[in-house]
Subunit: 187 residues, 2 copies
């Protein structure tokens, strides 16, 4: 099995994905670059579009990932635009939107895509349900991690977990482990 090249501009993603792949016995390297992303409600479309661009630019044997935080009381906002929303209104903005509300259910969704040497795309998803906390806690992870607590985590936010703990529960961990099964089976 060839080395999988993980394509992302985000060091936090590379850190998490490479740790999971290594635990699965899969060798990987980092291609730190930005890809075009399409505006779409469906993360699978977003990733699939970026995958085509990446394949055209740098060939096969690639892994890409995109994820979003979907807050139910906000109609799924920020969803596929989580990164932009994080950079503009941030955690404070998201908490403000939920001020005075107790319906704080949310989920993180991750879609990973392996682009084979032949240009075939294999997609897998991972989802984790939880809720938005009333204030930020913890300094681990990245993005909205300080205000997201998975249902199974007994109140802890993603940012209060060790990297391994987060990977064991997270949307990204689930998606990448599903993909790892296929990689190890030879797709």
């Amino acid at each position: 099995m060839a080395v999988i090249r993980v394509v992302t501009s985000n060091p936090g993603k590379w850190f998490e994905i490479s740790q999971i792949l290594r635990e699965e016995g899969i060798e990987c390297g980092w291609v730190q670059t930005s890809l075009s992303e399409i505006q779409a409600y469906d993360l699978r479309e977003v990733v699939s579009f970026s995958a085509d661009e990446a394949y055209g630019r740098i060939g096969g044997g690639l892994l890409l990932e995109d994820s979003g935080l979907f807050v139910e009381a906000l109609g799924g906002f920020p969803g596929p635009y989580s990164s932009y929303v994080y950079k503009t209104i941030g955690i404070a903005g998201l908490l403000k939107l939920l001020e005075g509300r107790d319906d704080r259910d949310a989920f993180f969704l991750s879609v990973v895509c392996l682009v084979t040497e032949a240009g075939e795309k294999i997609l897998e998803e991972g989802r984790v349900d939880g809720y938005i906390t009333y204030s930020p806690r913890g300094s681990g992870g990245f993005g909205f991690d300080p205000i997201f607590s998975p249902k199974e985590a007994d109140g802890k936010t993603f940012a209060e977990m060790t990297p391994s703990e987060k990977n064991s529960l997270s949307h990204r961990g689930r998606a990448v482990r599903r993909l790892a099964v296929k990689i190890k089976e030879g797709y």
Copy 2:
């Protein structure tokens, strides 16, 4: 001069753009379809990308437009994602984000693109500065119009104006009129 085909899925945009073009003596028709949009901070990139797709699908003689509301206190949010943000957190969400704040400066930006028969792209911009009101007013226009008041409008929101009044002041009106000059000059 051939009939310009205006490509948009949004009836409100078609209504405004066609009125402006007609006032400029330019004939136009409506192609009501959705185009892929890229995730980018720069509206020119977004429009240019959609223009390439449109040209590939339906040929030249096209006009496309994209616009966004940029709120300064929110780091430019919702910007190029205004339509998604409108559909999710909406006007109530945007007002909530500005609750208790008096720095309410904002601007609307419009980028229009003419794709010629030969596939050449001609871009023009229009911008209008104003502020976000404390509550929605009026029922005209679309999107965030009920909470945006241009500086020149003496407190009126876009949604409180007649279509002609809005077109005379608006980002979209300015951009389309600039493009109309080039169309009438033969590009």
